[in-house]
């Protein structure tokens, strides 16, 4: 396409690419948005930091939650709605949850229409497995590689449209025109460092989460929170940023794989948790749901067992699936079998796994309109993990994959409708471009400076220590001090080498996102003075009625600092609130008393 070669030296040259819709991120949400927009005849560009098909969606193992009732006929959107609200401790945006629960089955069948293959029931329908916190067997799955099936299907569908995919390309800033509408972005290709100015009538953020803020994580290098920070920088509101999910079961040994995910599918298929004394301890934490309690509860249980001295030699608890036998495991959990065999020399058909909580997912993110996924900034949309609101204080397993499908599609459609009805200019002032290019190149040009990998590591260690799954005010404040000290060093980060595929230079960009997001997590965690879902504040005995009606909204204030607003959650519509029995526990099982110790 048009290579807008400007003549002031190789370094400053950039290409210009124009699309109706620019989608940032090629995981499930980004690709589903691309398909929706392309089907409406618009020109779509998808930018991804990796190759297509490698996004974190590929790591999703257990399944996609949708209440089609193929196995348990009593299931329906109402139960899925209630399960999701309870698990999110009612901080969820209930309008999003209603749309989500209603549309999920149709979105899954759509994948089947595009060639996705799920395990079948005896009647030849899509099979569904049980999962933590879901009342009925609800997760459509194919073994333990559901995410792979989903991303491959969406990838192949996307490549069958006219969508242009810019692989290994990183967006560094969003641009607004004089009227305050988002009209494009600056990006560079990782291969060569060449800059691209994307002009677009609408931009969809689908950049995933920020698990790389923590040392022990199931996330890849990509999960640095770029999307949320880029949106925040242009004035977008963020919601529930204090809510970070620890998955109860990550690998603990060997050291190189610490944090690697062990699918909830293992517990879905009957896996049993035991401590070093052989006790099936979930009895003490949630005697009704046991191992299939919600993730926040199981993660805290595992953490407590180990910290109280009932852990395994490598500091985990035992997860036992041997009852399935080799054949059963190879049918239901083959990926897990290979993972433990290859990486840990463990045969899970003969001996239990050692597991411990690992950072897995972020519930918080960019605040969006439930119908169209537009943010408070015109021209900017968001979907998937980088968007917030659907999951509240704790996400149910399997709800993430259906989230990507339901809101990926809505974001693509929302952006398409917006782009069609707005004829404004996508031109921006050249100085915006030049300033940003200069900023991005600075780490290479500086004589001396900080090692970006070292700064990343320090952020990860600080967050692991101070914004863990058990929090208290003193520690959060200490963490904030550490992060603020690192933040001051970020502008002085130094990368060696050239712009040619240079991970050190890329890491130098990521450090800014990591520190910014960490500061936001710590500041909002300090505000939510209660125990609720992923926010387990040890200085308080339990949930607070008052805070249960509030979301913390983060927005950059006029001084460029983090502004935090307490925003009332609107009362639930009557047709939804009456689904919950009168007197039903609106805290999702978290009352003061015994359980609140965990």
């Amino acid at each position: 396409m048009e290579s807008n070669g400007q003549t002031n030296g190789h370094r400053d040259r950039h290409e210009v690419r124009e699309h109706d819709i620019l989608i940032v991120g090629a995981g499930g949400a980004g690709l589903r948005a691309a398909i929706a927009a392309a089907e409406r005849g618009l020109s779509v560009g998808v930018v991804t930091k990796s190759l297509i098909g490698k996004a974190h969606t590929v790591m999703a193992e257990g399944g996609v939650a949708a209440s089609m009732g193929n196995v348990d006929a009593d299931d329906g959107w109402q139960t899925h709605f209630m399960d999701t609200m309870k698990s999110g401790k009612f901080l969820n945006n209930w309008q999003m949850v209603e749309i989500f629960a209603k549309e999920a089955p149709e979105r899954v069948y759509e994948l089947e229409q595009w060639g996705a293959l799920f395990n079948r029931t005896e009647e030849g329908k899509i099979s569904q497995r049980p999962f933590g916190g879901h009342t009925y067997r609800r997760l459509c799955h194919v073994g333990d590689r559901t995410g792979l099936e989903m991303i491959r299907t969406l990838q192949e569908k996307t490549l069958a449209t006219d969508t242009t995919v810019y692989m290994e390309t990183t967006v560094t800033r969003l641009f607004k025109n004089d009227e305050g509408q988002v009209v494009g972005a600056l990006a560079y290709t990782r291969e060569s460092g060449r800059f691209i100015h994307f002009k677009a009538k609408a931009v969809v953020m689908a950049t995933g989460g920020w698990g790389r803020n923590y040392k022990v994580t199931s996330n890849s290098w990509e999960g640095t929170g770029d999307g949320a920070v880029l949106a925040y920088d242009v004035g977008a509101e963020l919601v529930d940023m204090e809510m970070v999910q620890f998955h109860p079961t990550g690998m603990v040994w060997p050291p190189g794989v610490r944090g690697l995910l062990v699918t909830e599918g293992v517990r879905g298929e009957g896996g049993i948790l035991r401590n070093s004394e052989g006790e099936r301890y979930m009895e003490n934490y949630d005697s009704e749901k046991m191992e299939l309690s919600t993730r926040d509860v199981v993660a805290r249980a595992n953490y407590t067992e180990v910290t109280e001295g009932r852990g395994s030699p490598h500091g985990g608890v035992y997860l036992d699936i041997t009852h399935l036998g080799y054949n059963g495991i190879m049918k239901k959990l083959p990926v897990m079998y290979e993972q433990f065999k290859n990486l840990a020399d463990i045969d899970i058909s003969k001996e239990p796994m050692e597991v411990f909580p690992t950072i897995h997912y972020v519930m918080g993110g960019i605040k969006v309109d439930p119908e169209t996924c537009v943010t408070n900034v015109p021209g900017l949309f968001a979907a998937g993990e980088c968007a917030g609101g659907l999951h509240g204080a704790n996400r149910l397993g399997g709800n993430s994959l259906s989230d990507l499908l339901v809101f990926g599609r809505r974001a693509g459609e929302g952006a398409a409708e917006y782009a069609k009805s707005n004829g404004y200019s996508t031109e921006i002032d050249d100085s915006q471009l030049e300033t940003e290019k200069q900023r991005v190149l600075e780490p290479l040009e500086r004589q001396d400076g900080e090692n970006p990998y070292e700064l990343q590591q320090q952020v990860q260690e600080a967050m692991m220590e101070h914004a863990n799954l058990m929090r208290n005010e003193e520690s959060l404040k200490e963490g904030l001090e550490k992060i603020l000290a690192i933040k001051e060093r970020v502008p002085n980060v130094k990368a060696h080498g050239s712009t040619l595929f240079n991970p050190g230079w890329h890491a130098a960009q990521d450090v800014r996102y990591l520190t910014q997001i960490s500061e936001i997590i710590l500041r909002t965690a300090l505000e939510r003075k209660e125990r609720r879902g992923a926010q387990w504040h040890l200085d308080y005995d339990g949930p607070s009625d008052e805070l249960g009606k509030i979301n913390f909204i983060v927005k950059k204030d006029e001084q460029g600092e983090i502004g935090i607003e307490r925003r009332e959650i609107p009362p639930m519509a009557e047709h939804l609130s009456r689904l919950f029995d009168e007197g039903d526990d609106k805290h999702g099982g978290e009352q003061q008393g015994k359980e609140s110790q965990f």
Binding site: S50, L51, I52, K54, A55, H56, V58, M59, M68, Y109, E110, E112, Q113, G115, L117, R120, E123, G124, K125, I126, V142, L148, E149, R152, Q155, E156, K157, L159, A160, M167, E191, S220, W221, E222, W253, P254, P255, G256, V257, L260, L261, E338, Q339, N342, L343, A344, N451, P452, Y453, E454, A495, H496, S498, L500, F501, N502, P503, G504, W505, A507
Partner: protein, 288 residues
């Protein structure tokens, strides 16, 4: 290139500087790795030495070098769990997922890490695999006349699970001599895409035919002489030759070399064996 050379020397000297540090406080010894450093114009191996960590995989070693000794060492990786197929490279000349290969497998041997060689090198361990996505775009996608939800039984779809496991590491493409030695990229799709064509062809609800694409179009399946090199390197154990390539070759043979079918085709034009519908000359709506 002179800048590149200087940079590599710089890296090498840094590596040694760190070695001394590590040696002074190393309790459990060290491992040496030779890693290709260079770009499209050339390069050479640089030796690094890193402290041993229990159970370490080669990717851990590479990332350690990146964080402590050579910040600009290029490598692709994502999931670190052998699910995404990003970190394919060659160790001692054999394609491997770096995240799945334990360092201790090479005890007493050299460890020499290079990028995949069937594709152009971009930098260090990263090769240019874009061509594979062009082949992906040329593949005739799934299409069904029926409206989901489909009724399909386990026994109908069981054999599709295996090809669907593919993580697109492209190591089968890397090792295939039709590509690696004979450079037939423009007219040969390669094992990864035979795997994809296989499940598409065998899916009970799909209505397209890909036999013409495979025989006469960009597929080029005739070039494959079933040496099974692809099967040997597949990290998810797909029996590519036996379960994907040979069944497709049989279908192509049935369609093209059965005299009765040949005659019918002459008389009536090409028809999709699945639906009887007449298909386009290339059998490919994306036009390759």
């Amino acid at each position: 290139m002179s800048e590149q050379d200087a940079q590599q020397k710089d890296m090498a000297s840094k590596a040694h500087a760190d070695v001394h540090q590590d040696e002074s406080d190393a309790a459990q010894g060290t491992t040496r790795l030779k890693i290709f450093r260079g770009d499209a114009e050339g390069g050479s191996e640089v030796e690094y030495e890193i402290p041993n960590i229990e159970g370490m995989v080669v990717l851990d070693a590479v990332l350690y070098i990146q964080a402590h000794q050579a910040g600009d060492l290029a490598v692709r990786w994502n999931c670190k769990a052998a699910h995404c197929g990003s970190c394919s490279a060659e160790i001692n000349g054999k394609p491997k997922l770096l995240c799945k290969t334990r360092v201790e497998e090479y005890e007493g041997q050299e460890i020499r890490v290079h990028p995949m060689r069937a594709f152009p090198v971009i930098k260090d361990l990263v090769s240019d695999v874009k061509w594979n996505y062009e082949v992906a775009r040329s593949t005739i996608p799934f299409q069904s006349d029926e409206q989901a939800p489909f009724i399909m039984y386990e026994e109908d779809v069981e054999r599709l699970y295996e090809p669907k496991k593919c993580i697109e590491c492209f190591m089968c493409q890397d090792v295939c001599h039709v590509l690696r030695t004979h450079h037939k990229h423009p007219e040969f799709a390669g094992p990864r895409f035979f795997v994809r064509n296989q499940w598409l062809e065998m899916h009970p609800k799909d209505t397209q035919s890909r036999l013409e694409y495979l025989k006469e179009g960009q597929g080029g399946i005739g070039y494959c002489n079933i040496t099974k090199c692809c099967t040997e390197v597949c990290p998810v154990n797909i029996k590519i030759t036996d379960n994907s390539i040979i069944p497709l070759k049989e279908r192509v043979a049935d369609e093209y070399y059965d005299p009765a079918k040949w005659l019918m085709r002459k008389i009536r034009g090409r028809r999709s064996p699945k639906t009887g519908a007449v298909v386009g000359r290339n059998g490919n709506r994306n036009g390759g």
